[in-house]
Subunit: 556 residues, 2 copies
């Protein structure tokens, strides 16, 4: 049996475009003699469709699309992730399902069992869970179809302990000779390793091959990485599709053997490259799927964050689509401007300069009567990023470039950033990268990607500074980034409390201060732009922290 | 049996404060000879605690608090909503539960069955559902304890059709002589009527009295309205606690009869008053529970929105805690300033004036080289609210007043507002009020609340305008607010699609245009401040709309 795993990039709600993608893949598979063609989870409507699923007319359009796709199928059997209706009087309106399409008809239907409802996932908000386990028969062979989370049963993370059924095992117990998984799984750091380990464990436990077909592409904050995989019953990787691009993977299944006559498998790149390609695709898809503009603008401060975002934007969109603006104040060092100039020149992107001193003077003059008798302080510091944000938004409004936010996770976590100032932007490209990771990717870019000094060493080597008052350094307000990021990761991603973090060897007062900052700055982050997810815990819809609350993490 | 329904206002995560509230209520009940004291849902940690529940150390603190409260109890039996641990190896870590406390010990434990996972609710993210139904025995009588959503089974809204079990019925079938419900139910328009109707239906179906005790108070965007109720087995209201304030309700239960010897029941105020008191309490609690400041600042534009927010702020916080800033430009009418002056004088609040023309000139001068050859347009319009937002935030940063956002739902829905400009603020006080409702409450304030013209008639009567260019009117860009709000309500709250809305008699082109605006402006709303919930569908966490998506609502 010739099986094709179709790693596709649908657009949420763009049913026409997704239909065309599916149609093209079916035509191509039929002509290539594919016996079984597998599409990812919710290939029809894209993932995650969120509250679009609350509109009956949206559901009806997806159901009509299901029938139209069935009509396309002749020799090749198709298993496709899609929404299917729940005919019962009670329960949620629909299933996160899969249709088995053969000879112009729907031959069978499967529903997702484990509906993730944690982190960014809200599937119990929308879908009725499955509770019956039956294989589907294709070409006389029994296939166990699972959908995304179904295959992650009881893997190492504690969140999977909430489930008390292992769908893959249930299906093998009812005769499945192979397990298929249709996914729309977003990238997170180390996901490729974790995914392979998990799939391999299933093949060892169940002694059958596993085929994993994943969506690829960015949908606002979530980027599915592809990385579709075929493992034989001994856990050997028979085929692996590349990350972060559309592709397909052909394998042959005969008796108990899975083989791959075609091209060699993709290899998994190092973490910095994974993160870079994730952000690049996330930015590309944000623009192309929105369809409003293909150009971006960003402020170039002379620091490492905006330098990295400029590189990502240039690689994602091309030199002529990226405009950098440097906006010096009286507190800017001359290096900030010249470093930005060199960066822009190295990248080949346009850069313009707008000095903010006149506007700053106008603000302080206007505020003079109200501020009389007070000293220069945080309010005056914050004026500067807000002026810059307003200039960038004015340009964006005038010429249609989307403003990219350049803030990193370390500053977003601690609130070391200004609402309506450097927190402005349509998409926060690197807001899920800790500052230490920003450096790591930037070094990787120069050393491995470009093979030359594109980001000037002066930017890589200077002490981080917001340059909002004379001689300011980030280290005046925050611990060294190595320490800060260690504390943040322990709190946000491991969900450790203060005691546990202190037990790791961090200074007690520092831990208490940083955790309080993280908690107290929830109000700022509530108004931050969407951040492309890279970690297991990204600020945004995956972390629902009450703004008004008083819990203090054993810090009393 | 003397029963007390304790309508309390806990603070999320403030376990010490909530403990004191509970302790005080227990001491008072014991001395008043109360036999059974009922607290609302999650009275220990406040509702909704959201991802605080993800931290084991938070759960451990709540469990310790449960034991400490049990220690306080002597003669009075207490039934209290709280988090309880799930001892099973699989399933979610905890229950949304209730403890029955008697004589210093936990006598019994109940778990919530129906865990709302729609709109603003995410309870299946956190809690393991109950599946066994047993009454608790107090003073020899069998009591059926339900928690919040449990009692809303299969009421008229379609979202309740997802449930296939009616907990109250199950409990009566297993012998309950009375149904108790512990709630933390947020206010929405018509909630008091809907709640009474729902409770009354239970008494008619089940022929037993129902006691409903609700949390009161604001928690960021959600305001619980209280309105605790006691109904006898014939559906007669025996007692009703006031809305939007802490209170308790004493009833006597003997044989099958429920009676109320104490004070007369509260009556339900008209909708405008409900909404006003909801927003007032929401603002008060946002500030008092955050504890950072008790003062607010807002821009006074001379329009109805900022006038209403000024009234709410003054009534919530007092005249000396509210500062209005009027920020005229060359496009402001003189009426805008004088109307704001009269309003501030009528309210007794301070008002300051900051002309923005100099700053505006500095911006256009700085942008001159980039904008050369272009005409005045939306970018120049948007500069003005962004300058105002920056001035207000500078004041807020300098003196610690929280900036109140004054935008309404009609403009937020259509994107008729400026990111980082008039969309700035810590709390969006009236962002869930349609413009037509803003007028209704404002008129109610003058006529019924103040009994005099506090909001100047000139403000009530002028045509709405953003005053960002000469002679601008909202009606240049938007349909009349009566029409706009009708379309918005049908789309947002009834979740009708374009066809259904057009069938109601609205103009087809207008409907299509407005629905497209609502969908396309999701990116703006993603960065809006939290909005106090008043309707069944508020922008924010209750409406999860993909920013990047292309569904077009049968509009092709």
């Amino acid at each position: 049996m010739n099986i094709r795993l179709q790693q596709q990039n649908p657009t949420i709600g763009d049913l026409d475009k997704n239909f065309s993608l599916i149609e093209k893949a079916i035509v191509s598979a039929e002509s290539a003699g594919v016996d079984l063609l597998l599409f990812p989870e919710l290939a029809t409507c894209g993932y995650p469709p969120l509250d679009l699923l609350r509109h009956q007319s949206f559901l009806d359009e997806v159901y009509a699309m299901n029938r139209a796709i069935a009509d396309l199928v002749s020799e090749t059997t198709v298993i496709m992730g899609t929404v299917t209706p729940n005919a019962e009087a009670t329960g949620r309106a629909c299933f996160n399902g899969a249709l088995v399409l053969e000879q112009g008809a729907v031959k069978d239907e499967i529903h997702k069992t484990l509906l993730p409802t944690y982190d960014v996932y809200d599937e119990l908000r929308y879908f009725q869970p499955n509770d019956r386990f039956q294989c589907v028969t294709v070409g006389g062979r029994k296939i166990g179809v699972t959908i995304c989370e179904d295959i992650w049963y009881n893997y190492s993370d504690p969140q999977y302990l909430i489930y008390d059924v292992n769908p893959a095992r249930k299906l093998v117990e009812s005769g499945a000779e192979i397990i298929v998984n249709l996914s729309a799984s977003p990238y997170t750091r180390n996901k490729p390793e974790g995914r392979l380990k998990m799939l391999r464990r299933h093949t060892k436990d169940l002694q059958v091959p596993v085929l994993y077909v994943n969506q690829v592409g960015g949908n606002t904050d979530l980027v599915s990485d592809g990385d579709s995989l075929a493992l034989d019953g001994q856990g050997k990787v028979v085929g692996r599709a590349p990350m972060f691009q559309e592709s397909f993977l052909d394998v042959q299944w005969q008796d108990t053997q899975l083989s791959n006559k075609a091209k060699p498998s993709a290899s998994v790149p190092p973490v910095s490259e994974q993160q870079f390609r994730c952000l690049k695709l996330g930015l590309q898809d944000y623009l192309s799927k929105t369809g409003v503009t293909d150009r971006v603008i960003l402020g170039l401060s002379g620091g490492i964050d905006s330098a990295l975002v400029a590189c990502i934007a240039k690689e994602a969109l091309g030199t002529d689509k990226v405009l950098g603006i440097t906006m010096p104040s009286q507190f800017s060092t001359t290096g900030s401007i010249s470093d930005s100039e060199v960066l822009a020149e190295n990248l080949g992107i346009e850069m313009r300069q707008l000095a903010i001193e006149d506007i700053y003077e106008a603000f302080t003059h206007t505020l003079g009567p109200l501020f009389e008798g007070t000293n220069f302080g945080v309010p005056e510091e914050n004026l500067q990023p807000r002026i810059r944000g307003t200039l960038l938004m004015a340009y964006s409004n005038k010429f249609g470039h989307m403003l990219l936010n350049t803030g990193n996770k370390s500053e977003l976590a601690t609130g070391y950033c200004t609402l309506y100032g450097d927190m402005a932007g349509g998409l926060a490209v690197i807001a899920d990268l800790y500052k230490t990771e920003v450096y790591a990717i930037s070094r990787w870019l120069n050393e491995d990607y470009y093979g030359r000094e594109v980001i000037p060493d002066t930017i890589l080597e200077k002490s981080p500074s917001a340059e909002l008052r004379p001689d300011q350094k980030d280290s005046d307000s925050l611990p060294a980034y190595g320490v800060l990021d260690g504390i943040l990761k322990a709190y946000l991603e491991q969900q450790y409390d203060a005691k546990e973090i202190i037990a790791q060897g961090f200074d007690k007062e520092t831990v208490i201060r940083i955790l309080s900052l993280v908690d107290n700055m929830a109000y700022k982050r509530a108004q931050a732009p969407p951040a492309i997810k890279l970690s297991s815990k990204t600020f945004g819809p995956g972390r629902r922290w009450p703004i008004v609350q008083r819990w203090t993490q054993n810090r009393r």
